[in-house]
Symmetry: C2
DNA sequence: TTGCGGATTAGACTCATTCTAACTGATTAG
DNA sequence: CTAATCAGTTAGAATGAGTCTAATCCGCAA
């Protein structure tokens, strides 16, 4: 089920695109809508399949382009695990990822500021990190059906 | 410069291979030697190129096979950053990786037990993690030429 | 209207990795 | 001694996520 964007989400999208000198297009709205609808870290192909339900003419190339654009404006993060297909995450809060060995599903794990700080503290002087990626791999009790 | 394996490293290799029911072969020794010689997280192609200097008939397929075998017996870890080629690391101590934006080099960052523990503590109940990957991306002052 | 420039599109291409099938060489069985 | 076995090695083909290219599309402004 693909819900429409809330006014707030639409503004978020517009602001980020325009701020970085790019246009709001129906394709970008559709792709962004898909990302926000189920926050389950879909792959490009999953985004493609879902977005096509609502915009059948959409091309795979455009999905790649839209997602790259979103990453560029900081609207979404890429999530990689080993060499699997890249997944996309619209959660902008600092968080880690947990990949369930059994289901393949990726869950968001909240990252408290003090843990983030203790992580930064392990860097020796002279090392200045802009990005930190934390990913867990293991088993999660399937408590529910959602994914974050 | 590719040094030979120390007696200790040789025993380490033999023990791990035999324990998991596999054989010690000249190719595996050569590849392992390369990994220990410069602990700079080489890609498969880099391992291939270096190992060929000492064993010219070695094939790329075998390098892939050897590295997969080593990962299987816990002799080395795979290191991935985004979708770049997989790199290999023989450092078995818990550590994070720092990828230098400018040089592309990957540095080992020691991971103190208390930081590891604080990281594990962010997992909600029911989440059981076997592997944690931590990677930093940023700039490092080029203090020296080695990589860990 | 026409022109411009960003966006979209289909399809070709890349290249790290995986797969396949033939070969090697050490070990074991007769 | 042969021959069968079998893990390991090898070259090359296949795979597939991602990137590139070149042709269109389209909203806007001269
Ligand atoms: Mn869940
Ligand atoms: Mn260094
Ligand atoms: Zn996420
Ligand atoms: Zn390492």
């Amino acid at each position: 089920m693909i819900r429409n964007l809330t006014e707030q989400d639409k503004e978020h999208l517009q602001e980020a695109l325009i701020k970085s000198g790019q246009k709001v297009t129906p394709q970008r709205e559709a792709v962004f809508t898909v990302l926000l609808a189920e926050r389950d870290h879909p792959t490009v192909d999953e985004v493609f399949t879902r977005a096509r339900e609502v915009m059948p003419g959409l091309s795979l190339a455009t999905v790649y382009n839209c997602l790259e654009t979103f990453v560029g404006c900081g609207l979404v993060r890429q999530v990689n695990h080993e060499r699997e297909s890249t997944r996309y995450c619209p959660n902008l809060a600092p968080h880690a990822h947990f990949r369930d060995k059994d289901t393949g599903r990726v869950h968001d794990i909240e990252l408290p500021p003090e843990v983030l700080k203790s992580l930064r503290s392990i860097l020796p002087p002279g090392f200045d990190s802009e990005v930190i990626e934390i990913s867990f791999h293991g088993r999660a009790q399937a408590k529910d059906t959602h994914s974050n």
